[in-house]
Amino acid sequence: MAQPLVKKDDDRDDEADYSPFLGIEKGAVLQEARVFNDPQLDPRRCSQVITKLLYLLNQGETFTKVEATEVFFAVTKLFQSKDIGLRRMVYVMIKEISPSADEVVIIVTSSLMKDMTSKTDMYRANAIRVLCRITDGTLLTQIERYLKQAIVDKNPVVASAALVSGIHLLQTNPEIVKRWSNEVQEAVQSRAALVQFHALALLHQIRQNDRLAVNKLVSSLTKGSVRSPLAQCLLIRYSNQVIRESANTQAGDRPFYDFLEGCLRHKAEMVIFEAARAITEINGVTSRELTPAITVLQLFLSSSKPVLRFAAVRTLNKVAMTHPMAVTNCNIDMESLISDQNRSIATLAITTLLKTGNESSVDRLMKQITNFMSDIADEFKIVVVEAIRLLCLKFPLKHRALMNFLSNILREEGGFEYKKAIVDSIVILIRDIPEAKETGLLHLCEFIEDCEFTYLCTQILHFLGIEGPKTSDPSKYIRYIYNRVHLENATVRAAAVSTLAKFGAMVDTLKPRIFVLLRRCLFDNDDEVRDRATLYLNTLGGDGAVVQTGDDVKEFLFGSLDIPLVNLENSLKNYEPSEESFDINSVPREVKTQPLAEKKAPGKKPTDLGAPLAGPPSTADAYEKLLSSTPEFASFGKLFKSSAPVELTEAETEYAVNVVKHIFDAHAVFQYNCTNTIPEQLLENATVIVDASEAEEFAEVASKPLRSLPYDSPGQTFVAFEKPEGIPAVGKFSNMLRFIVKEVDPSTGEAEDDGVEDEYQLEDLEIVAADYMLKVGVSNFRNAWESMGADCERVDEYGLGPRESLAEAVNAVINLLGMQPCEGTEVVPKNSRSHTCLLSGVYICNVKVLVRLQFGLDGPKDVAMKLAVRSEDEAVSDAIHEIVASG
């Protein structure tokens, strides 16, 4: 008895393992497709072959053009069969394999046209879908009549097929589909839920650029009944769009808010959620408007459906960024989500809690997060680490708990990105919270004792070299650093040697002991490590005695090269070993003009260890050095201000030129940064010819040409002007770049001997009043304002005329004056009708200036401004008013 049973089981296993597509091969299936050409079609066999073809396609297999065309032709033969099942397969197959060539497609259109006008509804629906998939503009015009009829067909499947086809065709033939508006409008009123859904989507797409029409569409539908929840969701989205667009024009009553609020009581969860989210996304939503939405989202937080929980917590997470207080009520529900099985939900819950939590809840929260961290993936952990960093900056008093948390997770397993995120966070906290410095540094020291990432190790060593010597007991870090010399690879060892040298330079009492350690490094088996040790031993000097290190040595160790590394790298690559040694002064100092797109990227606070730690000098310092080292300008005295670079050429032109305006007491220097973007050209003797006829108070005194401007290696040319001393003279300058151009052979890179003189017109440049104002902030504006006194105060009112918005007006005045906004007052809250902005700065001849601007909306768009200026010199206060009056 047992035997047959076993056998049966075996059979069944075999059957279960056996795939009908086992060993399937494209070539063989294409051979099999020949059955499509049989005079006596076998529908079952043909369906099987089509299934195999679909299987191949669904596995990502691709067919060559020849193969696709062959299959396509063969499949069209199957229209001869009356078998319904096969016909349905044929429709799918044609859509999947249809070649794009018109002459091929034409083969099948007549069969499809026949099906499209067939009495069998289902043939019609499918033929419409297939035709729309393979059609072009000409064919579409031919079948347009049928499609319009189909849109209002009684059979919902036919109508939906035509409507969804319309959505696709709108991308390729918008002018034709737009003609179907009336029919689509009729379909929107259909009793069939799905037809209404598809019609609404198409109608909105047809009218999306006509604000009034969308408004009308939404108005009429919100009053009537929309049948399907899907369509209702679309309607909510469209009404939200109307609200957004009308926000600028209408104040007070918010259109469609009542509709959205009503949807919160809909029976479909999808609709409730969509309405809640729409409300949270309203510009300048009030707490009262927000409350009902938050309430339903809170209910969703404890839903049994993960998708609803995710959607709710994702929305609340966004709300927490703008209205953290509104989300606080959900904190308890959110805390229970920390243990949610779905890690995306748990991470969103934690990051939301970190945004909304208050100081007292931090410890409890950290406890919960600790349990959670061990079982999530690195990418989630990084999100949490970043949220914790922000929390710590928000509540600096909690630095101990948060720093401990970071150091604990630093010890656990994790990939490079995760560890880097933690280290970056600790570094930022050390930098921003002085009390956290020593513990933070020790955590980093412990980390490098067992760190597998060379990059992180070297970066931390570099950071230690800068921050460690400034602590109360620098000696305690030495052990960690010197251990690296014994235990790590050459890169880390070299970094450790540099760090030791920095301690030696900064802490005189440690110097003798550092010398001992550095001497030991002289026997390292790596060249770089030995070289560094030798260099530092010689540089630090004093032969290891407790003596003060000279400023020049400190500058050498801590200062930067003042040269963009990219330029240095390029110059070194171009340098050919010869008798003449490499001259670091020959490296261009100007950073290459970046493409516009890159510049527009939103400014991100540098979190990378490398950049901020290298301690690059401020741009102002770099300019000052550059100008004072140029003999022509050395006598101009102290540099007062350098402007941001002003582009004088369009993006992607042959030569990219921008200019920096340097203002001195009695001089102005224009620094033209030029880049040659043509590989086949070498420019020589480039100079800018400046016409200052519209700047009467300026007289050209010097011009420094650029000797050579090879491809992609930026260089500078300068023009200097004399101007009345201490006077904020303004004017307009027109510029022409003049140079000798030489052809370069791209294969050898050598330039021809003879060149041709050429000119290139640049944009005009202006010196404006703001160029004489330094942006210098004050920490407490009120104190500064009161201590300045009202002696030199000047107050006046101005009408700024119609403006796009209050924020735009505020920005315009800030830019006009070129002063530093204080206490975040440059940000204008949305929908506000009045605003006060506080500015501070230093005017030429070092006169401190404070400005209080009060803006108000006068009528719908007109902006009025009251300007109060206090300064140390009444002439300067008057000058500020003049700037505004003439601006």
Binding site: S19, N58, M270, A311, R314, S344
Partner: protein, 147 residues
């Protein structure tokens, strides 16, 4: 837009993969990303219990159905809730085709019909039909009952 619908067996081998508006060079990346996501999270998950994830502005809803796992990827209008609706339609229609929760073998046996079913549910990235009974009739070229 529904960017992708993907079916895989319990070992992560692809059974059906349909992309809409995803460049060919990104498809492989998506495939391995989804399979990895499933391998990490679908163990022990009940049939048809939905899991959800997001990657930048793209949403992913996925689940287990018998021996196969199902993934739906969408963006813009097709956010997590819309995708939950889509995957619900897909799983109920596939169950309907197979007559029960599919084993891998059953799924492959019904492969042709499943392709037709998917064709009725999603057309080039848009949800077209949502009712399993109607879909069952449509793949047989029969008009919907309510008509």
């Amino acid at each position: 837009m529904i960017l992708a619908v993907l079916f895989a067996n319990s070992e992560g081998n692809i059974l059906v993969e349909r992309f809409n508006g995803v460049p060919a060079e990104e498809r492989l990346h998506w495939r391995s990303f989804l399979v990895k996501l499933g391998a990490e999270n679908l163990k022990g998950v009940k049939n048809e219990e939905l899991l959800v994830a997001s990657h930048k502005s793209v949403y992913i809803v996925y689940t287990v159905l018998g021996d196969v796992s199902v993934y739906v990827v969408g963006k813009d209008a097709y956010d997590e809730l819309a995708l939950a609706e889509v995957i619900f339609v897909i799983t109920s229609a596939v169950k309907d085709v197979c007559g029960k929760l599919p084993t891998e073998r059953l799924f492959l046996d019904k492969y042709g019909r499943i392709c037709l079913t998917l064709d009725e549910i999603i057309w080039q990235g848009y949800l077209e039909n949502t009712d399993k009974d109607r879909i069952r009739r449509l793949v047989r070229l029969k008009p919907p009952t309510e008509f």
